[in-house]
Amino acid sequence: MMKLIVIIPIVQTILLGFAISNELRNQSLIIVDLDQSSQSRDLINQFRHTDRFIVSEVTQDINQIHKQIRIWKCNAGIIIPRNFGKDLVLERKPQIELVFDAVDGNTAGIAIQYIGRIISDFALEYSSVKPQINMNDRSWYNADMKPYQYMVPGIVAVLVTIISMLFSSMALVREKEVGTLEQLMVTPIKKWELLAGKLIPFLILSLIEFYFALFVGQFVFGIRMQGSYLLMSILTTIYLFTTLGLGVSISVISQTQQQAMFFSWFFMLFMTLLSGLFMPVSNMPDSIRWITYLNPMMYFVNITREVFQKGNQFAYLFRDIVPLFVYGITVFTFSVLKFHKRID
């Protein structure tokens, strides 16, 4: 069991960190070159020189595109028309056609942008009219625009939630299920002593896991914590009051460990989906967005990211800290009140 507790955070952090990167890569292309001029070959080479795309085939048969996309051999096809080279040089605006497998609409949308950029960069070499506007860009806090720096703090936040909520609820329910809770009931131990004794280990364990996963993340992905560890610890502890409180509540409404696990999973899934981990909260429709404001994990994920990436301070995080604090106190108090040493 201990082995699992140690391995799972590491594995999850690493896996999620690498897997949920949205950087487009290795999209396989089939190119129909009806022109076969030096210009068309040059254009095709632009696609070979980037690792975002793989040119799987160059052919003259247009029907191949639909065929290969249909049987999942290619993601997209590009049709270079006849006289492309000539038209390009004579500035007659030749028309290139792109055909996409849009089952994954999200990826298709991103791929279009990249292909469009490659084509226009290429074609501008032949244009006598150069763009008037030159714009450079710089990204702060994340110079390489690597998704890891953004994902890893979020993943760690989710991890801590899972561990604290799941384990606390299951540990408490197990006592109920096995019958030892009844035995504890006849001892003079007070309710708060029982809960403190049960929950403090999980509080400490969750904090340890948090930093452990964070260190692993920094080591594996080469990212650095910019903020204050003290601030992070305090805020994580506040957040843990909420999750542990939820764990206690779950143990109250569950009779078996399986139920506790399902309830925990239920909560976790929705908290995670609505936390801004996978999708920024600002992108969500208004009706869903107000639900996220009720989600303690949303504030915590935000705080973790801000402190980790920008070294953000207490003063600026007020908007996130206050709800977290309020949640911590109310949820924890409420669940402790509902917890009875009796079996219902």
Binding site: L4, I8, V11, L15, L16, F18, A19, S21, N22, S28, H66, R70, I71, L88, E91, Q95, I96, E97, L98, D101, A102, V103, G105, N106, T107, A108, G109, I112, G116, S120, L124, S127, V129, P131, I133, N134, M135, N136, S139, W140, Y141, N142, M145, K146, Q149, Y150, M170, Q258, Q259, F266, F270, F278, M279, S282, N283, P285, S287, E306, K310, N312
Partner: protein, 359 residues
């Protein structure tokens, strides 16, 4: 091996059904969870950026710079703020999460600068593209005309992509997770040992245990399919019977996975953790459910080869969205069948060994 007694199998199955029905809490969650997930994914997950808080520092104060500013102010996509050039001011604005990006308009109108809050690289990549497009809009100089055709999903609906994935997730969750927990619970409580000293053959026990979960998972899978088509207008181009048959194959793969997990677990908690690690996490992350496998680093792509959901996803997406025929989906089908057989053999060997050790 003697003939398996059908009555005994059905008796075990009935007992299992009984247990399931009398655990309404789990049942409700198992039914509601998928539907809610469906709704959540459908409405909440949208990766298009809907609003950009853009700070503009105009160092030129010319008619041309005004023209540029007008493009942004006039667009619904941006909320424009005035900001000074100072890095400290920009840093403050980012810390207070007031702005997503800052555009520094060059005094000489030659080289402009866009500073992005890079803490969310996905969003900032979009913002970069949008700002560039907006800046260049109205210019007539693009030398090539590009036409695009989106096959199978012209409106780029995300539901087409994730509804099949959700079905895959639910099926493996119910089949593998619930089965492994159920069998392990019997082990934990000691009732497994009791059952095995009865005339019940181990194989009868296993088949009886599995039967209810096959029914439940197929049922819930179909509910998700139904709601997905109803709520999000997901199409279904292929053959429905083939879909049901191939889904059964996948359910069998998931069940054999659950069986294997139950043979190596001693407690329910162990079974649950293992099941989550081996079914849920890989299915969500590595099967192509959310992000394409081709975009992942090589070592993850290799791991994805042993994840059953990856093949089932191709099957469901192929059947539903592309209208693939059975012949076109032979490869993933065979792989799933091979997986199932391998897992059953492993589980059986382990189980047999444990049985012998029990005496």
């Amino acid at each position: 091996m003697q003939m398996l007694n059908k009555t005994r199998i059905l008796a075990i199955a009935k007992k299992e059904f009984f247990h399931i029905i009398h655990d309404p809490r789990s049942l409700i969650i198992v039914l509601i969870l998928p539907v809610l997930q469906l709704i959540m994914f459908g409405y909440a997950l949208n990766s298009e950026v809907s609003n950009i808080n853009l700070g503009i520092a105009d160092n030129s104060h010319s008619t041309q710079s005004y023209e540029i500013k007008k493009k942004f102010i006039g667009s619904d996509l941006y909320t424009v703020y005035d900001i000074s050039n100072q890095p400290e001011a920009i840093h403050q604005a980012f810390l207070q999460q007031k702005l997503n990006a800052v555009l520094l308009i060059d005094r000489d109108m030659k080289n402009h600068q866009l500073i992005l809050d890079g803490s969310d690289p996905n969003v900032s990549a979009y913002i970069k593209d949008y700002v560039l497009q907006t800046m260049q809009s109205g210019a007539e100089y693009l030398p090539v005309d590009v036409r695009t055709q989106m096959l199978y999903n012209p409106e780029l609906k995300s539901s087409y992509f994730f509804v099949p994935g959700l079905i895959a997730l639910i099926l493996i969750m119910i089949s593998a997770l619930l089965t492994s927990i159920s069998i392990t619970r019997e082990k934990e409580n000691g009732t497994l040992e009791q059952l095995l000293v009865s005339p019940l053959h181990p194989l009868e026990f296993i088949l009886g245990k599995i039967l209810p979960y096959i029914v439940i998972s197929m049922f819930i899978g179909l509910i998700i399919l139904f709601f997905g088509m109803l709520l999000f207008e997901v199409v279904f181009l292929g053959n429905f019977i083939v879909f049901v048959l191939l889904s059964l194959v996948y359910v069998c793969t998931a069940l054999s996975l659950g069986l294997m997990i139950s043979t190596v677990s001693k407690t329910q908690m162990q079974a649950m953790m293992l099941a989550l690690m081996i079914t849920m996490l890989p299915t969500v992350m590595l099967s192509g459910f959310i992000s394409p496998i081709s975009s992942m680093p090589k070592f993850l792509q290799l791991i994805s080869w042993i994840i059953p959901a990856k093949y089932y996803l191709k099957i469901t997406r192929g059947l539903m969205i592309k209208g693939n025929t059975f012949t076109e989906l032979l490869e993933p089908t065979f792989i799933l069948i091979a997986f199932t057989m391998l897992l059953i053999v492993i589980a059986w060997k382990k189980f047999d060994k444990q049985m012998k050790e029990l005496g």
